[in-house]
């Protein structure tokens, strides 16, 4: 029996659980696992970039088919280099930063912060996770097939993805990629439907939209963007499947190799795929970053002990970013022969996104300004996100401009830009959330000293890995090249590549500090208590939540989530469930009995 009157078996409590908090943990653990897999793949291809022709015999046991014997050593095969890059991108973008981030924190926080006992459909929620899990298994399985996994890049542009014989990875590996992603999209849609329905329908009394924590705004808008954009990726994938398997010509046209036609398919347009892909692909950037924005907003306000600067401006910015995200996909396609006028339209709309993005950044800084900052691990990662988002956002102004993007297109400059602004920023948001809400997930605190080591090593190595890549890109070195030593114009960067690779290995190794801290703290971490950060939102009114969250009635909400250091109030926080009457009576809302009476 659970504390809430349900009879639960091990299977129903921990495996096929319908409790949103358990599902959140399932997403988190799967996301962390996939993060390590994706990171490991990047270390392998970084070794190749740093030391071209390096003997990688150590991969023989696991990835023997990824190696080629050049007579002197077992080196990473060039086509498998592309496979590793593809799988690294796919895993990090979709399985870690979409499902791992949004799946974890939307599930954990939406019901707890809006005051609901669970999602609108707990069953659909459970189904969403297990379909995601199945897609994860299929994607991982593709790493171990003889011909190797998909190799056409995470964007899977045709013809490499449409012609099964284009590359070894274009065969079964690509088919598994498509099956896995079809399941992933179904899972993502189920999750998003639930999040939207829950936020709109299950808010507790008093929880109006202008009292919603910014985390909820981030998750809610992310879900809307997902519902509108993922079906478009599904349409692109369906047409691709028809081209691959049934011989249609949506994307394929007159492919010749050495005068010989590779396919009878004619008249297709690979550019059509790019349009459909990027209609999801660009909103996907915001699907990844908006939950991280929400997390950062909450953590910065709580740990700076200040109201978030410009709550309504933050909300409007998120709404603006969500809307604009659908109008800018063409900036990924400036070099496809696009009409220059159309390119200008995409460029202008892209640059307009700088306005809400800048509003958010300035508001973060203004919230920190003269705050009583408490450098918890969550806060460090939140500030790290702000730093990375500024660094990566500024280069967005370059690549959003058609005149500059055309020479920089497909170079390492773009790699540096999106890894900093989207990849590393969102990862920092995720770490911030894990450290901050770990007490609500496991009832314990993570080790602060280990968290400090984790933060500083990660922060420094992220900049060491990606900042130099701007210069490599400015020199015109294209991304996805197997070996810099093969080309005179790139050979000068071999030493810099070694530096980047060493930094990447140190950064990857630092994640084991996190892993150790995470596992250790689940069992032996310091007991956290109900509200260790003295935070305002409703999740901190729950002590040890069972399925249903509150053992008593759900608290009523009387105020916004960011009333920290309010003048005239003795304590530096004022939770959402404390009414003005109680405040006037001078009740001690820090007292455990008061919280228990309210929840």
């Amino acid at each position: 029996m659970s504390a809430h009157g349900h009879t639960e078996s091990f299977i129903s409590k921990y495996i096929f659980s319908q409790d949103h908090k358990t599902i959140a943990k399932q997403y988190l653990i799967t996301g962390i696992f996939m993060g390590f897999v994706g990171g490991l793949l990047s270390v392998i291809f970084r070794l190749q970039l740093g030391w071209d022709g390096m003997d990688m015999s150590f991969l023989k046991g696991t990835f023997g088919n990824y190696l080629a014997d050049n007579g002197e050593a077992f080196v990473l095969a060039p086509d498998k280099y592309l496979a590793l890059v593809t799988m690294h991108g796919t895993i990090l973008v979709f399985f870690v930063l979409t499902a791992g981030l949004s799946g974890t924190f939307s599930n954990l926080l939406i019901p707890l912060q809006i005051g609901a006992r669970d999602m609108a459909s707990p069953f659909l929620n459970m189904l969403s996770y297990w379909i995601f899990f199945l897609s994860t298994v299929i994607m991982l399985a593709s790493l171990f097939i003889e011909s190797g996994p998909a190799s056409a890049g995470w964007t899977i542009y045709p013809p490499l993805s449409a012609l099964p014989k284009a590359l070894p990875g274009s065969g079964l590996g690509m088919t598994l990629w498509l099956v896995s992603m079809a399941l992933f999209i179904a899972s993502s849609l189920m999750g998003s439907l639930n999040y939207i329905s829950t936020v709109l329908n299950l808010r507790t009394k008093g929880m109006s939209f202008n009292k919603l924590p910014l985390t909820i705004w981030g998750f809610f808008l992310t879900a809307i963007v997902g519902v509108l954009s993922f079906p478009v990726l599904l349409s692109a994938a369906l047409l691709l499947i028809f081209d691959r398997s049934f011989g249609t010509s949506f994307y394929l046209s007159d492919i010749f190799l050495q005068g010989e036609a590779l396919t009878a398919q004619t008249g297709g347009s690979p550019i059509l795929f790019q349009h459909l892909f990027w209609f999801l692909g660009h909103p996907e950037v915001y699907i990844i970053i908006m939950p991280a924005f929400g997390i950062t907003s909450e953590v910065i306000s709580t740990m700076a002990r200040k109201p978030i600067f410009g709550y309504h401006a933050m909300v409007i910015s998120l709404v603006g970013i969500s809307g604009l995200s659908f109008l800018v996909w063409g900036h990924h396609m400036f070099v496809t022969g696009m009409n220059p006028f159309l390119g200008s339209v995409f460029m202008i709309v892209t640059l307009i996104i700088a306005i809400p993005s800048a509003v958010k950044t300035f508001n973060y800084l203004a919230t920190l300004w003269r705050g009583n900052i408490q450098f918890s691990n969550g806060m460090l990662f939140a500030i790290g996100l702000v730093s990375l988002f500024i660094s990566g956002g500024l280069t967005g102004l370059f690549v959003g401009n058609a005149a500059i993007d055309i020479p920089l297109h497909n170079t390492y400059f773009v790699v540096a830009h999106f890894h900093i602004v989207m990849g590393a920023s969102a990862i920092f948001g995720m770490f911030s959330g894990v450290y901050h809400w770990f007490p609500k997930m496991f009832g314990r605190l993570m080790d602060r000293r280990l968290g400090m080591w984790h933060f500083w090593l990660t922060f420094i190595t992220v900049y060491c890995v990606f900042f130099p890549q701007h210069f490599i890109g400015l020199a015109g070195v294209p991304r996805r090249y197997y070996a810099f030593t093969e080309f005179d114009f790139a050979a000068g960067f071999v030493d810099l590549n070694k530096f980047i690779t060493v930094a990447a290995i140190i950064g990857f190794t630092a994640q084991f500090i996190f892993l150790y801290n995470f596992v250790k703290s689940i069992f032996w971490g310091e007991k956290a208590g109900r509200n260790p950060w003295k935070a305002n939102s409703l999740e901190w009114t729950v002590a040890e939540p069972g399925h249903g969250n509150w053992t008593g009635p759900i608290p009523t909400v009387y105020r916004g989530p960011h009333e920290y250091s309010k003048p005239g109030v003795a304590l530096d926080y004022l939770p959402q469930h404390v009414s003005d009457e109680d405040l006037a009576k001078g009740v001690d809302y820090d007292n455990e009995q008061y919280v228990q009476a309210k929840a």
């Binding site: 009157g5 005051g115 459909s121 998003s192 329905s197 329908n201 299950l202 507790t204 028809f242 008249g267």
Partner: protein, 193 residues
């Protein structure tokens, strides 16, 4: 009172103005609409590129529009039966919805057959490929609707009036009307785009 996850009700959540299942269905339909918006946008982009064979749609696809309309009207009858607690009317409405739905699928099949007689195949010019893929994906959604109606019809015979009144027939109807209207949109699109 013993509070648990099962005690979610409107008194705890004043924002609970729409049945969450029905609301979730609406959001799902938005995502389905986006899927078809993407297909039809792709159709326009691909057609603009050239190398496009124009052909007339077999008239039978117009008849399938009429079948979809009749299926929706029958579903409306079923809903009226539920609201007025006339079980027989509900069963007749669902029965006719199913019959017109099956007729719709037959007409689609006949339309595809006539297309092949015109030399329009799935593999060939993209104009035909798009037609088969889009109408085929629509048919998958339509078949899901048919299965749901079969379940609703079986339940209408098993349940008493009280049980029948608790069925989410309005959600079934929403989906059914949607897939019908979607086909009419696609028919107009194929003729006008």
């Amino acid at each position: 009172m013993n509070y648990s996850v099962d005690s979610v009700d409107s008194t705890e959540s004043p924002g609970f103005k729409v049945d969450p299942v029905k609301f979730t269905l609406w959001v799902f339909l938005v995502s389905v609409a986006m899927l078809f918006a993407a297909f039809t946008s792709g159709y326009i982009v691909r057609k603009a590129k050239g190398d496009w064979v124009d052909f007339d749609l077999p008239p039978v696809f117009l008849y399938s529009c009429l079948a979809a309309v009749m299926a929706s009207i029958a579903m409306y009858m079923a809903q009226r039966g539920q609201k007025t607690v006339k079980k027989r009317l509900t069963q007749i409405g669902l029965g006719f919805s199913l019959a017109f739905g099956l007729l719709f699928m037959y007409l689609q099949w006949e339309g595809w057959r006539q297309l092949t007689e015109q030399g329009i195949y799935l593999v060939g010019n993209a104009s035909g490929s798009f037609l088969y893929v889009i109408s085929g994906v629509h048919a998958v959604h339509f078949i899901v609707g048919l299965l749901i109606i079969v379940i609703a019809l079986i339940r209408s015979f098993i349940l008493d009036n009280k049980g029948l009144a608790q069925q989410r027939l309005s959600s079934v109807a929403t989906y059914w009307h949607f897939v019908g209207v979607l086909w009419i949109y696609l028919y107009l699109f194929f003729n006008l785009a």
